[in-house]
Symmetry: C2
Subunit: 331 residues, 2 copies
């Protein structure tokens, strides 16, 4: 398994990206191509001497910052680390790419150069989220903020494939995110998407509401990228906010302080359960290639887990299954 890592992407790059790559090469035995500014990457790599021989550097002279405009940067910065990663995928020199950099730029570069899979119009970013009963799959969280009903149908198909082939779920239940469960509720987009999903061969359980997302009511939650992005960021922020408020309350008295100390294992386990760094990257589905996006704040652990996910995505031939499914649906 050969992975191109955008070593310059993310708030903590290249420190955490290089560390994650070295760990992943050691644990998973993958070949990792660290893409970025040669000198900075060599300096980082020096910290891990002797590092696994399967980690090598591929020079990219430019990088796209987290706040730069996506489309124009991808066009202008031909030799940016994300563009070089995408080219490696295109030329089949690697099996997958992983990036914690500017999400918009990654989606743009991948879509422009790798194109979408046959039958798929627009890619979607998906994430695996922890629920009360296990995990669910949320798609799209921001690649496509004004989707058409057909796009949402394709997201459902791709989610179904991912759940079945990568996460080994036998019966995949699909839900459509809406402001109410009734068919008559929602925007024109939702109503038409509901009709498409309902007449497809997917196991569509109907509309679900915001309150159902984390209960595990369905396995794949389909939504527009605008709502999905906000859900993702709100969820992270609530977990952080509750944690902060809880700590503040805990520090108010001696008994609660002791209580907090004794509860530490429980808190730690809970944190682990909802920690994005454990889950390991968000697949950009629908692209003719394997592209795993990471949180901008990614630590080495998050990068390592994303590299693992990239490997699983490749091994399970997710893209082949998606095109098969889409063909079935049309024929």
């Amino acid at each position: 398994m050969r992975i191109a890592l955008d070593a310059m992407g993310g708030d903590n790059a290249p420190r955490e990206t290089v560390k994650g790559a070295v760990e992943a090469a050691g644990v998973l035995g993958f070949e990792i191509f660290l893409v970025g500014e040669k000198y900075s990457l060599e300096r980082e790599l020096d910290k891990y001497k002797p590092f696994p021989g399967s980690v090598r550097i591929v020079q990219a002279t430019e990088k796209i910052g987290m706040d730069e405009p996506a489309a124009s940067s991808v066009r202008k910065k031909k030799d940016s680390s994300i563009n070089v990663c995408v080219n490696l995928v295109k030329e089949k020199k690697v099996d997958a790419l992983v990036t914690a950099g500017n999400t918009g730029a990654a989606v743009c570069a991948a879509t422009l150069r790798l194109r979408t899979l046959e039958g798929i119009e627009r890619p979607g970013i998906s994430i695996v989220i922890p629920t009360l009963t296990g995990v669910s799959f949320l798609i799209d969280v921001g690649a496509n903020i004004t989707p058409k009903p057909e796009h949402l149908l394709h997201y459902a198909i791709m989610g179904d494939v991912y759940m079945r082939y990568v996460l080994n779920k036998k019966e995949v239940k699909i839900g459509l995110l809406n402001v109410g469960e009734e068919e008559i509720k929602g925007t024109a987009l939702i109503k038409e998407s509901h009709r498409l999903l309902d007449s497809s061969s997917l196991n569509f359980i109907g509309n679900i509401e915001g309150r159902d997302i984390f209960t595990g009511k369905c396995d794949v939650i389909v939504c527009d990228g605008f709502s999905g992005n906000i859900i993702l960021k709100v969820s992270e922020s609530i977990a952080d906010t509750l944690g902060t408020l809880f700590k503040r309350e805990m520090n108010k008295g001696l008994l609660t302080k002791i209580g907090g100390f004794l509860s530490m294992t429980a808190l730690h386990n809970l944190k682990k359960k909802i920690d994005y760094t454990e889950i390991g990257g968000a697949p950009l589905l629908g692209i003719d290639g394997v592209c795993i996006m990471c949180h901008g704040r990614s630590t080495a652990k998050a990068i390592r887990n994303a590299i693992r996910v990239a490997g699983e995505f490749s091994v399970h031939q997710v893209n082949k299954h998606i095109t098969d499914q889409v063909k079935n649906l049309v024929s």
Copy 2:
């Protein structure tokens, strides 16, 4: 202060609505008109004998269920409790109405019969949310799922007024919910709304992201009703889910169990801080009348707090200030 309470609305009506009304009458000294089926309400009221004389029953022979279609039910069920409440406001027999019933039906009944305030095209449901630094105001959470840019501008004005006059905030910062902070990001709706807000006299701080909602970055968060509704429901559900997961972890070992016991005050305080029943109802802003919506699951405490909010809304002449502000903006 005279309040009409939709005594038949909500999952726990009329038990909790009547209890909340009796408590509010006692504590706040308001006159409460319990609107609903006379016989059931009398039976509930009997539990609180002798109840305050300021609580009286107004007969409504029909009610609209939580899952009934909003518009058609409001039209067909002329004598439903929500319609009777709205009529009492219209005829100025009460100063405000409070309902925990079918939200869509309440918005529809209020809009049809009371009409919107001069200069306001569409009402918005707003909620006060707890943040790391205090509270913020989120509008709209579901009255208007396909708003126009002008509607979002009006929501900002109304939120500004509410924050200043009811919540005594001196400098009100307004933020527009988007998938990124940059002006160039977002849907056509968001870009045009951004332009309108930016050229208004409001203290507009620009786009905010999902992660900023609970940090107190701004005082009023303006969003479309689709996103707002999902945020509201996701937030509640995350708090519940984290609570459940935390309890499960706590029960796994003796030490953590003891820890949990000692942390109970902290947990209780935290729960109180984020508990919707403490906050007390969501004003439907933009209607020519005072209409406070409650959660369908409302308990007596939530009803009592919503009645208090209805009183504050009236006393502070929110609607007069809104029309003044809209006039200022136009002239």
